[in-house]
Each structure stands twice: as structure tokens, then as C-alpha cells.
């Protein structure tokens, strides 16, 4: 996106490309708003042409044509153009793409012509076929062409970010080299992960933040029940956008081949939900019961990974008093008990009669908390089990009681789509865990210490977002059912009436 200092590159792997219709591409570009698009897969003229007709930003396909290397630069306003056309004094990034990894050995060809203009400009290097090779029979893993990459990195005065086209989007690893510092490699979403589009925000310091969204979350396929065949049928009817779908009467939809009445209802409802940002209740189920009718305590936790050895942050938000309390283990991560006990003391002292609410607590937070309570605060086990606990994600998404806007079911996507405008976007769970893991490794090293205030803010943000989603669903409950824009006539309270 223009204006900030990151080079935003949208990576569209080949597999993802196959599932994108033209409107889906438009949708994706609008959503991600990248500075440039990169197609790291085997050259696919249909995808290439499709993106180019829709995109207003450059489309880089390193494996197309015969050029071995492509040189681009990002100007301060966010424009990405051929290096030759950029004024060096306003360049923020160098963007180099090679056709294949064997070219890396030709350092002179790869490196930007001449030197960078004396500034320590960050360089982003796209290598479409770069993949980590691992051999379990010898317990080794190697990065091909690591030496060549090290040489390239040493020749540059600014940081180097290597984007590997054949690695999953969340892949991130600093590879030790014999000389100089490690070469950091980030994935672009190829390989087994191939159906996801990823926006890679390359910061001036060389770090990369990635946001991945499945190709099926764009265009018509983002709608429940619309797969490749139905999408094609809809296109043949001239329905290519979600708003178009929402405006089409349900009866017309139901006439399409392969589309029954129920699917038509659901499709239509979902399109509406996404377009309007209003959730829709699908069933007559009310939201989970609240103890004493009081608003739920919104809870979120941070751990050091998916098999936690420590719950290092408990975030507790009480909408009744608008108070947020955090319990953070910022001293001795090897003693997880202290934080658990402090959390329990507070929780049971203040909120024993309340209902606890989480997003995906059933899948993660609750079993984790129970395990830690058993091990470190066993006196509280029974009390914990007696607490009323709900999981809004279970209720809404897994049990199918509501249709929620948002491209994915992640809390921040859903809450943002519902209009929650909280603090800046947080880090991903994996990034947060990684930051804490670095701290765990060297708890006395100030360089390894996370920015506790920032993390506390993110966690608070999540709790408030959860409350926002709850309220939005509550409001949806009170909406007059006859407001739904279907032409079926008569009353309905939910789709299950049909």
C-alpha cells in the first residue's frame, strides 16, 4: 500500500491462480492493495494475462519469457517500476527477481547495476524455484545455492530478504553461512500450501510480515456452497460479483443447474452478509446463556507455541466495567506457575459468578488453561470446571448458528468485517510465540526482551474485538426477520424454516 515504507508484494502461486476467476482477482487486489504482484509458479499465460488485465500495479512473472533477471525498484510513493525508471534518490527498495536459482551463481547479473546509491537500501530477491531440501534418513536439511546467496548478501550494503517461491508462506528461517551474517529466507506460498495468496510486506529492515488468504476466499467462491462448477454456472448467467449475487432473486439462483433451493438461500444470505457486513442468524438458537444475565468476561491467552510450556499472557476484559487486566510472565518463563496462579486468584476473586467467553477456546484456550491449572494451581481445578465457559467460534462457525462476514474465521478478520476498528493489526500467533521463544532462550538479555506494552495491547485488542463480535451477533438477533431481502414472501426467522 502506498504511503508506508514497506514493499507490499502479493504472491499468487500457480495452484491458487487456477482457482481465481477474473472477479476474484479483482477482489484480491482490492483487498490486499499491493505495490506489485508476483507469480512465482510455472508460467501460466492465462493467469498472467488475467492478472495483468485487472491490475494497475506491475505484475512480475520471473519464469516468463527469456530474461534471467528482472530489476525493479520501489519509489517512495509506493510505485514499483523498472529500476531504470526510478529516481535513485527516492527509491525505498530494490526488487530483484531471477528466473531460477541456478542464476544466483552469476552474482554480477543478479546484483542491481552499479551500486545502490550509497544508501543502505533493502533488497528483496525473488527466487521462484528455491526450496529447502531435507533428507530424514540423514537428518539434514540444506538450502541450495546458499553460498551464492551469501555472496550476494555480502556485496550489498543494505539488508537482503530472500523470497523462496517453493516454500510455504509462513516459512521463515535465517540460514547460517560461513561468511557474514545469516541469510534470511521467507516463503512465498508455493508447495503444499499452494492455494493461498500471500501479501508479503517487506520492511526496510529486511523483515517480512505475511498475510495469507485462501484463493477460495475471493470472488464468488468465497460464498458458502460456491465451488468451481457453481461459479462457472453463475458466470454464465452474468453473475460475476458478490454484490451481483446478492441482488439476484433466490428463485433465479435456484433455477441454475446443480443449485437447489437450500443452497440458493444460503448462497444469497452469505453474499449479503459479506456485502453488508451484517451477520446473519441461521438458526433459532440463541447465543449461549449468560450467567446472571451479565455480559461475559472476554478471555484471550498467549503461549509459547501450540504445545505450550507456559501461558505467558492472560488477558481478561470485563465489558461491564470496561476494564482490562493482564497477567504477563515477563521475568521467569521457566516457572509457568506464578502467572497461572495470579490469573486464577484474580479470576475467581472477581469473576467466579460470570461467564467466560473466548474465540476457539474449545479448541485451544480451555484445554491449555485446564492443563496448567491442574499442574500449577490444582486447588482451582474444580472451580475452573464449574465456571460457565463458552466459545463464540464454536457456537457461530462450527455449530453453524450464524453467518459471519470476513474472509477467514480468524477473530481479527471477522471483527474487522463487522466494523471493529480497534488498534493496529497485531502480529500473528506464530510471530508472537516466536518473539516469546526468543525471550525464553535468553531471559536476561535485554535485546531479546519483547515489547511488553505492545503485546499487552494486542491481547487487549483481541478481547475487545471478541466483545464487539458478540454484540454484533446479539444485534442481529434483534433485527426484524422480514428485513431479509428474499422474495420468498411470508415470514421467516431463519433459513432452517425451509
Amino acid at each position: 500500500m502506498a504511503g508506508d515504507s514497506s514493499l507490499d508484494l502479493l504472491s499468487v502461486p500457480a495452484d491458487a491462480g487456477h482457482r481465481l476467476s477474473r472477479t476474484a482477482i479483482e477482489d484480491a487486489l482490492a483487498y490486499f492493495d499491493p505495490d506489485a504482484v508476483c507469480l512465482p509458479g510455472e508460467f501460466d499465460p492465462e493467469l498472467y494475462g488475467g492478472v495483468r488485465t485487472v491490475a494497475t500495479v506491475p505484475v512480475i512473472a520471473p519464469r516468463a519469457g527469456t530474461d534471467h533477471v528482472g530489476h525493479h525498484g520501489r519509489a517512495r510513493e509506493g510505485e514499483v517500476v523498472d529500476t531504470a525508471a526510478v529516481d535513485p534518490t527516492t527509491m525505498t527498495h530494490e526488487l530483484v527477481s531471477v528466473r531460477e536459482s541456478s542464476i544466483l551463481a552469476e552474482t554480477d547479473t543478479v546484483l542491481p547495476n552499479g551500486e545502490d546509491a550509497g544508501e543502505d537500501l533493502p533488497t528483496v530477491l525473488v527466487v521462484p524455484d528455491l526450496a529447502v531440501e531435507h533428507d530424514p534418513t540423514t537428518l539434514t536439511a540444506r538450502l541450495p545455492h546458499l553460498d551464492a546467496l551469501a555472496e550476494i548478501q555480502n556485496a550489498l550494503s543494505g539488508p537482503l530478504t530472500v523470497l523462496a517461491g517453493s516454500q510455504p508462506a509462513n516459512y521463515h528461517h535465517p540460514w547460517d553461512t560461513g561468511s557474514g551474517g545469516p541469510v534470511t529466507v521467507h516463503g512465498m506460498g508455493g508447495g503444499a500450501d499452494g492455494s493461498r495468496l500471500t501479501l508479503l510486506s517487506c520492511t526496510p529492515s529486511g523483515a517480512v510480515a505475511g498475510e495469507s488468504v485462501d484463493a477460495d476466499s475471493f470472488g464468488l467462491r468465497a460464498i458458502h456452497g460456491v465451488g468451481a462448477k457453481t461459479e462457472a454456472s453463475l458466470h454464465r448467467q452474468g453473475i460475476t460479483t458478490r454484490s451481483g449475487l446478492a441482488e439476484t432473486p433466490v428463485a433465479t439462483l435456484a433455477d441454475l443447474p446443480g443449485v437447489g433451493r437450500d443452497s440458493a438461500e444460503r448462497m444469497h444470505a452469505h453474499a449479503e452478509v459479506i456485502e453488508t457486513g451484517d451477520p446473519l442468524r441461521l438458526t433459532n438458537e440463541s447465543l449461549p446463556a449468560l450467567r446472571n444475565g451479565r455480559p461475559p468476561i472476554c478471555l484471550d491467552i498467549e503461549t509459547d507455541g501450540l504445545s505450550p510450556t507456559v501461558v505467558w499472557q492472560f488477558g481478561v476484559y470485563d465489558p461491564e466495567t470496561d476494564e482490562y487486566t493482564a497477567f504477563i510472565e515477563d521475568e521467569t518463563p521457566s516457572d509457568p506457575g506464578r502467572n497461572v496462579r495470579q490469573f486464577c486468584d484474580h479470576l475467581f476473586a472477581s469473576h467466579a459468578e460470570r461467564t467466560i467467553l473466548t474465540w476457539n477456546g474449545d479448541g485451544f484456550d480451555y484445554p491449555v488453561i485446564e492443563r496448567f491449572v491442574r499442574q500449577h494451581a490444582p486447588k482451582y481445578v474444580e472451580a475452573w470446571q464449574d465456571l460457565w465457559k463458552h466459545d463464540l467460534y464454536s457456537w457461530g462457525v462450527r455449530d453453524g448458528n450464524a453467518l459471519l462476514p470476513g474472509r477467514t474465521n480468524k477473530l481479527d478478520d471477522v471483527s474487522r468485517a463487522l466494523g471493529y476498528g480497534g488498534g493496529e493489526t497485531g502480529l500473528t500467533g506464530a510471530q508472537t510465540a516466536a518473539a516469546y521463544q526468543r525471550f525464553m532462550r535468553a531471559p536476561d538479555d535485554p535485546a531479546a526482551e519483547p515489547d511488553w506494552t505492545r503485546h499487552e495491547r494486542y491481547c487487549e485488542d483481541d478481547c475487545r474485538a471478541l466483545w464487539h463480535v458478540w454484540q454484533a451477533i446479539e444485534d442481529a438477533e434483534r433485527r426484524d426477520p422480514s428485513d431479509s431481502a428474499t422474495d420468498s414472501g411470508g415470514q421467516q426467522t431463519g433459513l432452517t424454516d425451509f
Binding site: 529447502v132 531435507h134 533428507d135 530424514p136 534418513t137 540423514t138 537428518l139 539434514t140 536439511a141 540444506r142 538450502l143 516454500q167 510455504p168 509462513n170 516459512y171 521463515h172 528461517h173 540460514w175 516463503g187 503444499a192 500450501d193 509459547d304 507455541g305 501450540l306 504445545s307 505450550p308 510450556t309 484445554p367 491449555v368 485446564e370 492443563r371 491442574r374 506464530a430 510465540a433 516466536a434 521463544q437 525464553m440 532462550r441
Partner: protein, 888 residues
């Protein structure tokens, strides 16, 4: 269950409708085994009063020994015969634990939920189900309120939570254990109280499967320890050569072995029965028509006997007619069904001998894993209650599924291992009654060796069970699982695995992006999906095919058709279009196959054909790429990767009555199966090769081939390579902990043609239609190349390779020396060798051509015990055309 409980073996043999058959015949070896008295102790000496007064038997010596060892806090491996009461050992130990922890009051009633729990792991779900019944019955009998439950893929979701939270004893299988470890939070109550882990039929955990089980047990130990459990282990095993070593490798804990069997055994009459020569007025069948597939066009060597698949059902019929309830163990599912048919034919062919005097003939049925659970269960209970007199079965009944008492076991062919022989024979004669065990030899090489040398079978030790945890590829899989279950940290060093291995494994996965963190702090799993789902306990992947009736079949007319899914390799071999198979005695033909659906399907129609079908297969190695190589005395050793192709390419139609072929080599239209794996191979030095080609030029039929092929001048030499390849695979277990069945080999005169090369397309990829094309290309390359080498490959029989080939590469000289010793010292005196030295049961060419002497020469030169000077290198014709000969 039989009416007549005294077996008179002499009379039985003499009433058999065949001339000149008696216990003294040349074709029969008779070995009576004496009875064994029970060695028991009064239960009061072994058990506490509460249990002693409830337990209905007097414990056997080995049961007492085991319980004593458990009392001393030791782990125990009980390696005694089948039905020696091994289950009761752990049933009693569980009862002791429950009483000690206060869950059970002395009067047998319950006082609570929390306390000693036990996990029992069985190799199959069926066995778990069976044992659940036995345990529950035993506790009922003893008046103890113990909650016993199965927990596996068949357990309904709605019941699982209650079982986890309330059961005392949970029965499952290894894959279940592995899968459920992911959600171990839900098992906290069970694991915290875990006092006993039982591994039943532990001798079955060998080879690749054994490796996975060993790691699963280590992961289990880790998780249980996390929750505070500290269980003892009981392993129950069949008799094997090395129970202590095997158990300790599986558990990574010390064990006490209890193997002095105190259970009684009735006297046993053992017979090794060699069918008569064919053409002796009885049969004109040429070779065992329905054997597992062998290479095309290769006759089974000197095959002049009636096949076991024809004679064994006769014997089985005879025994059951005379009141000896018997199992007939068959090597394949198809044979179980054919056997039932043949037994009936035998009856009708000899009406004078077999009269239906008191009602109908004794009922005989087939039993195998392809039949579906309901059918199997019906037959188990019918056999148990006596309404069935005989079951023709595969190895499905080798393990302890309860089918009641039986008096006889007939083996259709030698099962390939002594351990299996004794396991199967041991099924007969429970309690003190007399029993019969008969091995009906096939015309095949291993069987003939056994009947010629009965002491090999009857007087020497059983094999060792082998399992090896050094294999890094399997370790790496389980490392991911362990990290997912509980984050890895320093506490795992030296406990879960050695430091070097942990660090290497963690670093590899970190670089590959599937683990994050550091061992000094904590390491987490970071991948996308559950790593437990990537573990395949048999080391084989691939799709399964569903067997179902074609749409236009009248299902009512067919009746019960519940057949289980089959793995792809079996589907290609047994269920190609045109295959004729028996289900429940009814013939079906495969009419259609749908490979491309999400669930591949084979469609069948009932038919009535006069023939059955038999599949023929090819094996080859292509696109071999060398990654490492070294020279040894002029030979070059290589290690690398390649593609192994198996092709079930055609089938014969064979008349049921006569076993004569009706039509041969009909296409199956099945593509070859490709397996990318690791291999090692050796290139024989050029000079040695020239010398040996010359030396063995005149050899022909000695190698076991027929006169037609014996004329090829290179046959003698290639037979040596073939024998060398076999010998190395057979002796590999002396040095490496590996099962022969996990290795494969291919010896070849045209080594280069099996290589990958930039000038040629990848052969593996083009072998889409058949291996013929591949073989033709290899022959072609051989033709146009100059000076191609000869040698042999040994490959890992597991997709992706698993370290065996690499280990063989590294230990090549040592293994070659062992192989040479085996070949040289064998007393068989036969030029082509014997089962002990050169024959392999997995040979794709039915063990021909083979030549011992030539193989010994090759090895001696490789090791350096002989030099070029020993060879006469003059006059060897260098430009001689070299045919593309290769043998598996």
C-alpha cells in the same frame, strides 16, 4: 469340540485314499512329540487371598514367575506358547493394582473412579475386540467390578469421553495410541493413574512396523510421565529366539523374560507330508497353479509333484471327516476359498471312503481378512460351537483369536519361517488332548528343503525378532509428533533420544520450517497439520480400493456381500479386470475398476466359470542415480536413489479341475506401481567379470533353468550374480537389524542400462503402460552401449527409502564376507544352492538361475581373498554381445 477325542494317527494315515501311504513311507516324516505335564502352584502361594479365592485355576509356573517379577517392580516379557494363560497374567496384575489403589474394595465392589488404570495394546482391532470379551468375562467370573473397554476407530464418538473418564482398562492398537496422543489433555485422568501397559503379541512388532511401535511407545512414555504416570510393562510374545533383546529395544526399558512354559500340552503327532509325483495316475497338474505370483514363463524348476494347494485340502477333508476339527492354513485368501471347494471334490471323488452316514458331511468354510467382519465373526463362533468342523484360513487366525479347541492343523505349504510354523501348529490341542499337525509341502524349493531336512525345522532354534530404532527417517517422523504432543526440551536428551540425534533432528526440521525453537529452551511443532496423520505404521502408503457389486447385480440373489477394502498393490494384483475370485464359495468376476474417484472402486459380478485366474508380475529397477560411491578391490560400490517398478502385468486362466492353463498371459491393464526409494549396488570389476564369464560359460541347467535357456553363455555368470544378491539379502540380518522382507534386489548383466542419464528420458516416468517398454529400453541401451558393467542392486522396500540400503552400502565388505561364508559352508552340495544358502522366498524368478560357486568367486574377489591372478583372463571375447539379463 470334536466328537471323537482320541486320535489314532496310524489309522488316520492308513485310511487315506492313496496307495502306499503309511507312517513309514518315504514321502512322510513322522515325529511324535511327547506330552508336557502342567506345572502349577496352589493359587494361595501366588496370589493374595482375595484373588486366590476368586481365580478359578491353579496358576502355571510361568504365570507365577511373571507375577512375582511384577511384584518386584520389574517389567516382564512372557514368551510361552499359545493358550498358556498369558492374558490371565495381566488380568491378575490389573486386579492387584486396582485393589492396591483402593479402586476396588476387597469384596470386589468399586469404591471410586480414580486410580490404577491399564492400557492394553493389540496388533489388530479384531484381537482387541476378542480380548475385551475375554477380560470382561474373567472379571465377571471373579466377581470383580472392573471396567474394560475398547477404544479405537470403531468406537462411536458418543462413547469415547465416558471411556476415557471412567474405564479402568482400555484396549486399543498402536495406531490408536499414536493418534490419541495428540489430544492427551483429554486423557489426563487415564494417564495420571496409568500403572500397567500391556503389549500383546509383541513378536509381531518387527521390521518397519516394529520401528514405529518402538517410537510410539517412547512417545507414550513421555506423555504419561508428563501427567505423573509411571507404569510397568507386560509383553506377551510367541516363542522367539531373542525375547529379551527384542523387548528391550521396543520399550527402551529393562525386562525380565519368563519363558519356561508351565502349561500342559497333549501329545502331538507331527507329520511332514510330501505330495506324490504328478503323472503318477493321480494328477497331471504341472505346477502349483495358484501360488502367489511369480515371474512370467518360468516353470517352477523341477516340478513333478502334486501341488500342496491340491493335496492339502484332501488331507484336511480326511481329518475333519474322521472327527478331527482342523484349521487349514493357506498362504493366500484365494486359496482359502479354493481349498473348501477342493475338499468337497475330494469327498465326491472317493465315495467309498467318504460316506455321509450320520447326516450331512462335516461343514467346512473359508476364513480370511477379505471377508468382512460380520462373516468372520459368524464363522468364528460356528467353529467354536462345533457346527463347523474345519476352517481354511490365512494368517488371520495365527494370532490368538478365540475359536475354541481344535484338534488338528494342516499347513498348506511351509509358511517361510520356523517361528510361524510352530505358532500355527501350536493352535491345536489345547488342554491335555492329543493333536495332529501336518505340513503339506509344496513343490517349491523351501518346502522341499524342509521335508528333505526335517531337523532344520524340528530341531534348530526359531528366528530372532528384529527391530531397530537407529533408523533416522522413522525417528524424524516421530520427533515431529513428540514435539506436537509436548514441546521438546532438555529433559528429552538421553531419554527420548540421544543428544546428537535430537539436535540433528530438531535442526533439520527447523530449517525445513516444521519445528520452531531451540532444544535448550523449548521446541514446538510449527507445521500445518497433525504430524500423527503422517505416520503409516506399515511403512506403505497408497490408496485403498473398495470392493462392491456392480450396479446391475441382483443383490438379493447374491446375499451377504461384505468384503473389506484392499490396498492398491493387492487391488492391482488380485482385482484386475477379468479376475475371478471366490467369496464365500461363490465366484465373482471383476467387471469394472474406477481408479479416479476419490474412493477408488472395484466392481464385481457373480459368475460361474470353470477357471480361476492367476496373476503374473515383473519387478525392475530404473533411473538409479548414484550419490556416493567408493572402490573396493576393483569393484565399485554405489549408494543412491532410484525407482523400483512392480508390474502385475498379465494373468492366466487356469481350469479349476485340472490346474491346466486355459488361456495365458491375458493383459490386466494395470499400470506398473512405482516406488521411489534408496538403493545400493555393486559394479563388478571388468576383469573379474571377463574371467568369470569365461569360467562359467559352460554352465546351464545346473543353475536351475530349463534346457532352452541353459544355452546362453552368460547364464552361469549371471546365475552367480543372482545368487550373490540373494545371499547378501539373506545375511543382512546378521549385521543389520532388518527383516529380509523389507529389502529387495535385482541382479543384472547390464547395470548401466538401469541408470538415469541426461541423454535418456526418465524411465520410471515413462513406464506408464508396462514394464515391457522399460525392459525393451534397457535391452536397447545395453545393445548400443559399450562395456556396460554387471552387478546387483539391493533396495529398501519402503517408499522414500529408510536407511537399510545406506547401511548395507556402508557395511558392504562385512556383509559380503558373511554371505560368502554362508554360501561356502552350506552342506547342501547343490550347485544352485538351497533355502539355507541361496533360495529366497521373495524371489521374482522362482529361484532360478542361481549358481553358488560363481557367487562365491565374486565375493572372494570383492573382499580381496582372491586376486586377478586366480583367474584365467586370456581369450575372453570382449566384443561378445551381451544380452539384457536381469533377475530379481
Amino acid at each position: 469340540m470334536t466328537q471323537d477325542s482320541t486320535i489314532d494317527i496310524e489309522r488316520l494315515i492308513e485310511t487315506f485314499p492313496r496307495e502306499g501311504v503309511s507312517l513309514d513311507s518315504d514321502s512322510i516324516t513322522y515325529r511324535p512329540l511327547p506330552a508336557r505335564e502342567a506345572d502349577t502352584l496352589p493359587s494361595g502361594e501366588v496370589l493374595r487371598p482375595t484373588l486366590a479365592e476368586r481365580y478359578p485355576f491353579e496358576p502355571f509356573r510361568h504365570q507365577a514367575d511373571a507375577l512375582d517379577a511384577l511384584d518386584r517392580d520389574e517389567n516382564v516379557t512372557v514368551a510361552t506358547s499359545t493358550s498358556s494363560g498369558k492374558t490371565d497374567i495381566y488380568a491378575l496384575q490389573i486386579a492387584r493394582n486396582l485393589l492396591d489403589s483402593g479402586v476396588l474394595a476387597p469384596d470386589g465392589s468399586r469404591t471410586g473412579d480414580a486410580g490404577a488404570t491399564a492400557l492394553c495394546i493389540y496388533p489388530t482391532k479384531a484381537l482387541a475386540g476378542d480380548q475385551r470379551e475375554s477380560l470382561a468375562d474373567r472379571y465377571d467370573e471373579m466377581g470383580l467390578d472392573v471396567r474394560v473397554a475398547r477404544y479405537d476407530g470403531d468406537t462411536p464418538q458418543s462413547e469415547r469421553r465416558e471411556i476415557r473418564e471412567r474405564a479402568d482398562v482400555i484396549l486399543t492398537n498402536p495406531m490408536g495410541v499414536s493418534t490419541y496422543l495428540h489430544d492427551h489433555d483429554r486423557w489426563s485422568r487415564f494417564y495420571t493413574g496409568l500403572d500397567l501397559v500391556v503389549l500383546d503379541e509383541s513378536h509381531t512388532h518387527t521390521g518397519v512396523q516394529g520401528m514405529h511401535v518402538a517410537w510410539i511407545l517412547r512417545r507414550l512414555r513421555r506423555v504419561v510421565s508428563h501427567w505423573g504416570g509411571d507404569p510397568q510393562y507386560v509383553l506377551t510374545s510367541a516363542t522367539i529366539g531373542n525375547p529379551e533383546e527384542h523387548s528391550e529395544e521396543l520399550l527402551d526399558e529393562p525386562v525380565t523374560v519368563v519363558d519356561e512354559d508351565g502349561s500342559p500340552r497333549g501329545p502331538r503327532d507331527l507329520l511332514l507330508w510330501n505330495p506324490p509325483p504328478s503323472g503318477s495316475g493321480e494328477e497331471r497338474g504341472t505346477f502349483a497353479a495358484d501360488d502367489p505370483p511369480s515371474a512370467p514363463g518360468v516353470d517352477g524348476g523341477i516340478s513333478s509333484r502334486v501341488p500342496a494347494s491340491v493335496d492339502a485340502p484332501r488331507l484336511w477333508n480326511h481329518l475333519t471327516y474322521h472327527g478331527v476339527g482342523s484349521l487349514l492354513f493357506c498362504p493366500s485368501r484365494k486359496l482359502t476359498e479354493i481349498a473348501v471347494r477342493r475338499a468337497a471334490e475330494h469327498r465326491s471323488e472317493h465315495p467309498g471312503y467318504y460316506r455321509a452316514t450320520n447326516g450331512p458331511f462335516p461343514s467346512l468354510e473359508a476364513y480370511n481378512a477379505g471377508m468382512g467382519r460380520i462373516t468372520r465373526q459368524k464363522r468364528e463362533s460356528s467353529f467354536k460351537d462345533g457346527s463347523l468342523a474345519g476352517l481354511a484360513t490365512t494368517s488371520a487366525l495365527e494370532l490368538g483369536i478365540d475359536i475354541g479347541d481344535l484338534d488338528g492343523v494342516v499347513l498348506l505349504g511351509y509358511p517361510g519361517q520356523r517361528q510361524q510354523f510352530w505358532q500355527r501348529i501350536g493352535r491345536a490341542g489345547r488342554g491335555g488332548s492329543r493333536s495332529v499337525g501336518v505340513l503339506v509341502a509344496d513343490h517349491r524349493t523351501l518346502d522341499q528343503y524342509v521335508v528333505d531336512n526335517p531337523e532344520y525345522l524340528l530341531d534348530t532354534d526359531v528366528e530372532d525378532a528384529v527391530v531397530d530404532t537407529d533408523n533416522d527417517a522413522v525417528f524424524a517422523q516421530h520427533l515431529l509428533c513428540a514435539a506436537d504432543e509436548i514441546a521438546l526440551d532438555r529433559a528429552d536428551i538421553g531419554r527420548f533420544a540421544s543428544e546428537e540425534r535430537l539436535r540433528a533432528g530438531v535442526e533439520m526440521w527447523r530449517r525445513a520450517g516444521r519445528l520452531t525453537g531451540y532444544l535448550d529452551a523449548v521446541v514446538h511443532y510449527a507445521g500445518a497439520r497433525r504430524p500423527q496423520t503422517e505416520v503409516s505404521i506399515y511403512g506403505t502408503g497408497g490408496d485403498e480400493y473398495e470392493l462392491r457389486l456392480a450396479d446391475d447385480v441382483d443383490e438379493a440373489a447374491v446375499g451377504d456381500f461384505d468384503a473389506e477394502n484392499v490396498a492398491r498393490n493387492r487391488a492391482f494384483r488380485d482385482y484386475h479386470e477379468g479376475a475371478v475370485r471366490l467369496f464365500d464359495g461363490q465366484q465373482f468376476e471383476v467387471t469394472a475398476i474406477h481408479d479416479d474417484r476419490p474412493q477408488p472402486v472395484v466392481e464385481l459380478e457373480p459368475v460361474d466359470r470353470e477357471y480361476y485366474t492367476r496373476t503374473l508380475s515383473d519387478v525392475n529397477v530404473v533411473d538409479a542415480e548414484s550419490e556416493r560411491s567408493r572402490e573396493v578391490n576393483g569393484f565399485t560400490l554405489h549408494f543412491g536413489t532410484g525407482t523400483v517398478l512392480v508390474h502385475h502385468h498379465s494373468y492366466d486362466q487356469v481350469y479349476v479341475e485340472s490346474n491346466e492353463p486355459k488361456e495365458r498371459m491375458l493383459p490386466t491393464a494395470r499400470p506398473p506401481i512405482r516406488m521411489e526409494t534408496q538403493l545400493c549396488w555393486v559394479e563388478v570389476s571388468e576383469e573379474i567379470e571377463r574371467g568369470l564369464l569365461e569360467k562359467y560359460r559352460e554352465y546351464g541347467t545346473e543353475t536351475g533353468v530349463d534346457a532352452e535357456r541353459a544355452g546362453t553363455p552368460q547364464i552361469g555368470y549371471v546365475a552367480g550374480l543372482h545368487a550373490a544378491e540373494h545371499a547378501m539379502i539373506k545375511t543382512a540380518p546378521l549385521e543389520l537389524l532388518v527383516d529380509q522382507g523389507d529389502l529387495g534386489g535385482l541382479s543384472t548383466l547390464v547395470l548401466d542400462s538401469h541408470y538415469a542419464s541426461p541423454e535418456h528420458d526418465e524411465l520410471g516416468a515413462t513406464a506408464e503402460r508396462s514394464l515391457d517398454a522399460v525392459e525393451a529400453v534397457i535391452a536397447d541401451r545395453a545393445e548400443s552401449s559399450t562395456g556396460t558393467a554387471s552387478g546387483w542392486f539391493i533396495y529398501d522396500g519402503v517408499e522414500g527409502g529408510i536407511g537399510f540400503a545406506r547401511a548395507i552400502y556402508e557395511e558392504f565388505e562385512t556383509l559380503a564376507a558373511h554371505a560368502r561364508d554362508q554360501l561356502r559352508n552350506c552342506e547342501c552340495g547343490r550347485p544352485d544352492g538351497c533355502p539355507a544358502c541361496t533360495y529366497s522366498e521373495n524371489c521374482g524368478n522362482d529361484n532360478a538361475p542361481l549358481l553358488r560357486e560363481s557367487a562365491i568367486d565374486v565375493f572372494e574377489h570383492l573382499i580381496g581373498d582372491r586376486t586377478r591372478a586366480d583367474l584365467d583372463l586370456a581369450d575372453a571375447d570382449e566384443s561378445e554381445r551381451r544380452p539384457a539379463l536381469f533377475y530379481a
